[in-house]
């Protein structure tokens, strides 16, 4: 098993190299140079050229790419063109907000999604099942910013219970959490329901019933674990997505997360920030996928033995 994990970690390296190259290449195609950006429009051409030279911007793309990668290995992502501060520091300063948002939303979405999904499957075609399905459909269809704005209207403006913007204590996160969790909760609920319905019809569930086992234990001990694989997949993908893709929510609630950092950086053509943040998020995503695959092995012994044989 540890051999498998090591192997997977090693395959991360070429993946990340490719990601860095693509990001680097695309950013290179965009117009503008760091000299102009840093010194401003009014600086003389000589000053700008000198600055570009100093930053190594005039060297060919492959050379810059190799330099970037060697610096990255040392933990250096370069400096922001805008603020001049190290990119690594800028991202790390914003990371807690994004991680708090993503973890909270995932927890809410997973717990509620799985519970409602199980109930829906066990009581198939009941009133509860129909209403849960309808609500899930609605939650998945409304765009996040709309749900966010409605929540702000209700809880911040009319009721005045919760703050509508800014980061700080956890109170600030409640509305963003709910907003972010909504579509995720819906997909998690649908996936759990479908997967449970499939498993409940399996022969081994009938075997458990024939043993005289209680229905609650059949659902929790036999069915749920078997239904978990697709649920874990959705969880991993969504979590990875949330770490990078909460831009709208961060904007609606003016939370200073990584998403808004990237948006600002794109707007100001701050290439090092965009590249650095993208590389960071791509690594998170790849590691999460690895975690999902390892979780598979813990859930399903058949997958574990397949990993071990390799």
């Amino acid at each position: 098993m540890s051999k498998y994990i090591l192997k997977r970690l090693l395959t991360l390296i070429p993946t990340l190299l490719a990601v860095i190259f693509i990001v680097y290449f695309i950013m290179d195609l965009t117009p503008g140079d760091p000299g102009t950006l840093i010194l401003g429009e009014r600086a003389s051409q000589e000053e700008i050229d000198a600055k570009n030279d100093e930053l190594g911007y005039n060297r060919p793309l492959p050379v810059r790419y190799v330099n970037y990668v060697t610096d990255l290995v040392r933990g250096d992502m370069g400096n922001s063109w805008k603020s001049g501060r190290p990119v690594m520091g800028e991202i790390i300063a914003r990371l807690p907000v994004t991680v708090t948002l993503a973890v909270g939303a995932i927890l809410i979405g997973t717990v509620i999604g799985i519970l409602v999904g199980i109930l829906s499957a066990v009581k198939q075609y009941s009133f509860l099942d129909f209403s849960a399905t309808a609500i899930a459909m609605a939650l998945a269809s409304f765009p996040g910013f709309w749900i966010g704005m409605m929540l702000i209207l209700l809880f911040s403006l009319y009721l005045g219970w919760l703050p509508s913007f800014g980061g700080g204590d956890l109170k600030h996160y409640i509305l963003p959490w709910i907003t972010t969790a909504c579509p995720f909760m819906a997909s998690q609920m649908r996936m759990t329901r479908t997967s449970m319905l499939e498993v409940i019809r399996m022969d081994y569930i009938r075997t458990a019933r024939a043993k005289g086992q209680r229905e609650s234990k059949i659902i929790m001990q036999h069915a749920l674990r078997n239904a978990l694989l697709p649920v874990v997949t959705i969880l991993g993908i969504n979590f990875g997505g949330l770490l990078g893709g909460t831009v709208t929510i961060e904007t609606v609630f003016t939370l200073p997360g990584v998403g808004s950092l990237i948006i600002e950086a794109i707007r100001t053509k701050d290439v090092p920030i965009v590249t650095g943040a993208t590389v960071m998020l791509a690594s998170f995503f790849a590691i999460l996928m690895l975690v999902v695959d390892v979780l598979y092995a813990y859930i399903d012994p058949r997958i574990k033995s397949r990993y071990e044989r390799k």
């Binding site: 022969d203 081994y204 043993k211 005289g212 086992q213 036999h222 078997n226 012994p301 058949r302 033995s305």
Partner: protein, 341 residues
């Protein structure tokens, strides 16, 4: 009381009596009449074979006894199922749970899918014990898990393995160990060997027979294989379209000199004989009728070669000669000499 009389009393104790059992499936396509007025009984240590084609209602009968019919669609319409004189159909879910696994166990057709792939076989056998021995600790039950595995011929050290690490025949042995864990008085085996290859079939059947003797379990053997019936059963019920068309002791059903239902004769003609001269196998023409739309009169009449006008509607004659019962109009004239010509 001497040994023989004691044995007789023991052997005539009725373990299960099924009377006029009618079960249906309510589907979108209509009501499927899967079991229509089936009656039979099993004494202690006795094995009854339910024989018939796919769709004859054998499995539905078994699931009705276990009350494991699909919850939304399956329904027992009428009849009575008594376990040692105790009516099962009026029991609630909690009471039925105490019966299942402890008093009546079931072995399912496909061992490949009957075991939970994510639990070790030891855990699955243990579960069966733990449900009905809640007063005992895991430590007290664990030796019994080992014992059960050894009983079905699997080394106890393999209890930490998962189902995918066993062959089909071994999986079926584990399923048998689970079913016998609490030493039930009645074992329902639903085509226990159909999914296994022929050499393993014999092993599994021998094992079941051996364990049945050891634990004095009664058994309902559901099969379409007359060879299996001959090897394991005391009594036979031949089922067709949800009815028992012929019922009797093994010797009566397998005796060619006695009268038989045309369907039973058809079944026997459809198996090859190793000893007799080789002849063409005679399959039964036609297909099992659609259980959502059963024919009037005798259910078998559209396929029966000796079908008469009176078979197409109305009540069908019930022939009885001791323990031998046949539901067929052909038996009417042979009532006195016991032969149908």
């Amino acid at each position: 009381m001497d040994h023989t009389t004691e044995n007789m009393i023991e052997n005539t104790e009725k373990i299960l009596e099924v009377e006029n059992l009618t079960a249906v499936y309510n589907t979108d396509a209509g009501v499927v009449h899967a079991v229509n007025g089936v009656s039979f009984s099993i004494n202690k240590k006795e094995t009854i074979g339910l024989v018939g084609e796919t769709g004859a209602g054998k499995t539905t009968t078994a699931l009705a006894i276990m009350q494991l019919l699909p919850e939304r669609t399956g329904e027992v319409k009428s009849g009575s199922i008594r376990y040692r004189g105790d009516e099962l159909l009026t029991k609630n879910k909690a009471e039925m749970r105490l019966i299942r696994g402890a008093c009546i166990s079931m072995i399912f057709q496909d061992p490949m899918t009957a075991l939970n792939p994510l639990m070790t076989v030891g855990e699955q056998i243990y579960e069966s014990l733990a449900i009905h021995n809640s007063n005992k600790t895991q430590k007290e039950l664990e030796p019994r898990v080992d014992e059960l595995l050894e009983l079905v011929g699997i080394p106890a050290r393999r209890k930490i393995n998962y189902p995918h690490e066993f062959s089909g025949g071994m999986k079926q042995r584990i399923v048998i160990a689970i079913a016998l864990a609490c030493e039930p008085l009645l074992l329902i085996a639903d085509e226990p060997t159909t999914a296994l290859d022929v050499t393993i079939q014999a092993q599994v059947l021998n094992l079941m027979d051996e364990l049945k003797q050891k634990l004095s379990t009664s058994m309902i053997m559901i099969t379409h294989d007359l060879g299996v019936v001959a090897q394991t059963c005391d009594k036979v019920a031949v089922m067709y379209a949800g009815e028992i068309v012929e019922y009797g002791m093994l010797e009566e059903i397998f005796d060619p000199k006695r009268p038989h239902h045309p369907y039973t004769i058809g079944l026997f003609n459809a198996i090859p004989s190793l000893t007799g001269e080789s002849r063409r196998l005679k399959p039964i023409d036609g297909l099992m009728p659609d259980p959502a739309n059963l024919p009037e009169g005798c259910r078998f009449h559209p396929r029966c070669q000796e079908c008469m006008e009176r078979c197409k509607s109305g009540e069908i004659y019930q022939y009885e000669n001791g323990t031998h019962k046949i539901k067929c109009n052909l038996m009417r004239k042979g009532e006195n000499d016991g032969r149908a010509d």
